[in-house]
């Protein structure tokens, strides 16, 4: 499955990763070679083999529906780049 320049730009946009055309060309070359290596997988017959998401195949444990977390907003916001009155600041979204 050959990769095209537009695929790289599409992935960059989906990942919200700023990439100019030159950088996209560079990654197109790299990703093309990585995908060529990955394409070896297509030679293997996996008919009837179930996907394995987790090496121990355990199921997700459920916990009691109880409040266990306390409010630590001010502590966690100390590592934020911009906050005001307990809110995270971002550029205006709605005019």
């Amino acid at each position: 499955m050959a990769l095209e320049h537009a695929d790289v730009l599409r992935a960059a946009h989906l990942a919200r990763l700023g990439l100019d055309d030159d950088e996209a060309a560079h990654y197109l070359d790299d990703l093309g070679r990585i995908l060529a290596m990955v394409d070896q997988l297509q030679t293997l017959d996996t008919e009837g083999v179930a996907p394995l998401a987790h090496p121990l195949e355990t199921t997700q444990r459920l916990r009691a529906d109880e409040v266990t977390e306390t409010d630590q907003r001010s502590r966690f916001q100390r590592c934020a780049p911009a906050v005001e009155q307990g809110l995270y600041l971002v550029p205006r979204v709605v005019e």
């Binding site: 499955m1 990769l3 695929d7 790289v8 599409r10 992935a11 960059a12 989906l14 990942a15 919200r16 990763l17 700023g18 990439l19 990654y27 790299d30 990703l31 070679r33 990585i34 995908l35 290596m37 990955v38 394409d39 070896q40 997988l41 297509q42 293997l44 996996t46 083999v49 179930a50 996907p51 394995l52 998401a53 987790h54 090496p55 121990l56 355990t58 997700q60 444990r61 916990r63 630590q72 502590r75 966690f76 100390r78 590592c79 934020a80 780049p81 911009a82 995270y88 971002v90 550029p91 205006r92 979204v93």
Partner: protein, 486 residues
């Protein structure tokens, strides 16, 4: 004191030969003097270390000392450490001071250990040479022109240089075992789920696992006993009792069945590495083990499967770095999309971007089944190879890496760097434990013997590694740098 193992230091502290403060001061002085070019630490926490040492000495004076009280170590800079910069080797987190401790850190603190600081690593643990760190490459203590391996390169180099007796690392595709091999020390990757991932900056969540790097298997056993166990804050940590991993170290190996995977001795393996590994296996035969060839037929699909699954999980995990809640934020964003795109473009390094793009592409509409689902099916086949092998033998052995440490700057092409991990990566896909132990040299560069066991066979692996270290002295060899006394 820097030439002693963690076990010897713990005994010296218990016998009152020296205090934790004296030991901590001596090692901090070594870090100060020797770590300039070595660059194994990103952050040295001297003040906190001396405070912790004093608390350890006070606990001992009060009769409250445990087996690790006052023992110094270092933490890979991927473990969140309250009040201390936790960078994951990235510009993205260069100013991030963690507001809480990882469970591993909490347990090590509770055990009375003294952290000297945070060690260098490939950015977000993505790399096999430590050259992908925002904070610069790390030298191999055996040879300043060689890489220390990665991604836990700083942890391995700090131990090999005698700056700390042990350090914590993480292993997603070989990131404990390969640097341990390259630096001539012992490194254990436990079974997936054995150690809590809570507070460990995530790379690929179905593969990541934390473990110790130290001089000996005995040291690793002591540390694993301290850090293993179920944690309600990590839903993938396993609810299963934690034994004292030192208890079985002395069990004799007579009758041990060793399997040599045919695929781990094939094309691409440096003949000198193979020679050292075969000699090590000869030592096991002399200890009463039997050796037979086995096959892991899907071995050469492991790297392709890993480079679908790991980047896919990474692209999802790294979506959290948005320039809003923590981490790097660009100047003067025009709008929200610009804020995201520029913060991430500026904060992430080249290899991280490559994997985010790769993961985003393979997870995107039209490609998901062909790549991600396919890789997950192959993952099951890879795991089954190991389960079948462990029906026939107790442990598997082979090289940890096809070559000894390569030169800094020698691997520029990402695919050739990825292929370096051929003997370690399948182990993470299968979730089984593995350990690398020093087994010789090629020139002045160490060779690691990798020993693999089935899920939760850590006690057996440590026993098998320890018995080798009773019969050989490769683990006692020190680079010239570590011989330097102050």
């Amino acid at each position: 004191m820097h030439d002693k193992t963690l076990t010897e230091l713990a005994a010296g502290l218990a016998a009152g030969e020296f205090s934790s403060r004296e030991l901590t001061q001596a090692l901090l002085a070594r870090v100060e003097r020797l770590d300039g070019d070595l660059n194994s630490f990103i952050t040295v926490t001297a003040e906190q270390a001396l405070d912790a040492a004093d608390r350890a000495d006070a606990a001992r004076a009060a009769g409250n000392a445990g087996p690790l009280t006052g023992v110094p170590l270092a933490l890979k800079d991927i473990f969140c450490t309250e009040g201390v910069k936790t960078s994951a080797g990235s510009k993205m987190l260069d100013t991030f001071v963690a507001p809480y401790d990882a469970t591993v850190v909490e347990k090590l603190r509770a055990a009375g250990t003294v952290s000297l600081g945070k060690t260098n690593m490939d950015e977000f643990a993505m790399g096999s040479s430590n050259e992908n760190s925002f904070f610069g490459p790390v030298q191999n203590p055996w040879d300043p022109n060689a890489v220390p391996g990665g991604s836990s390169g700083g942890s391995a180099a700090a131990v090999a240089a005698g700056l700390v007796p042990a350090a914590m690392g993480t292993d997603t595709g070989g990131s404990i075992r390969q640097p341990a091999a390259f630096c001539g020390i012992t490194g254990l990757k436990p079974t997936y789920g054995r150690v809590s991932r809570y507070g460990i900056i995530a790379y690929a969540s179905s593969l990541d696992q934390a473990g110790p790097l130290a001089r000996t298997a005995e040291d690793c056993a002591r540390l694993l006993t301290a850090i293993a166990g179920h944690d309600p804050r990590d839903s993938t940590s396993v609810a299963r009792g934690v034994p004292d991993y030192t208890e079985e170290l002395d069990a004799p190996l007579a009758g041990l069945k060793i399997g040599l995977p045919r695929e781990y001795f094939g094309e691409g393996l440096d003949p000198a590495v193979e020679g050292a590994v075969r000699e090590a296996i000869g030592v096991y035969e002399s200890l009463g083990a039997t050796v037979r060839e086995v096959s892991l037929p899907h071995t050469h699909y492991a790297i392709p499967a890993y480079y679908v699954i790991a980047p896919a999980e990474a692209s999802s995990n790294l979506a959290r770095y948005d320039g809003v809640r923590f981490g790097h934020r660009c100047e003067n964003p025009a709008d929200l999309t610009d804020l995201y795109k520029r913060s991430r473009a500026e904060g992430f390094g080249e290899e991280v971007k490559r994997r985010i793009l790769m993961g985003t592409h393979t997870l995107s509409e039209g490609f998901f089944d062909a790549y991600y689902k396919k890789a997950q099916r192959v993952r099951r086949l890879i795991r089954q190879d190991f389960l079948d092998a462990f029906d026939e033998v107790d442990v598997l052995m082979g090289p940890a890496s096809p070559t000894p440490a390569f030169d800094l700057g020698a691997r520029k092409d990402p695919v050739s760097m990825y292929l370096q991990d051929i003997y370690t990566i399948a182990i993470n896909l299968a979730g089984i434990p593995g350990i690398s132990v020093p087994a010789g040299f090629v020139g002045n560069r160490p060779v690691g013997l990798q020993i693999l066991g089935t899920h939760f066979a850590e006690a057996r692996l440590l026993n098998v590694a320890h018995q080798f270290q009773q019969a050989t002295d490769w683990h006692l060899r020190r680079p010239a740098l570590a011989e330097e006394t102050l």
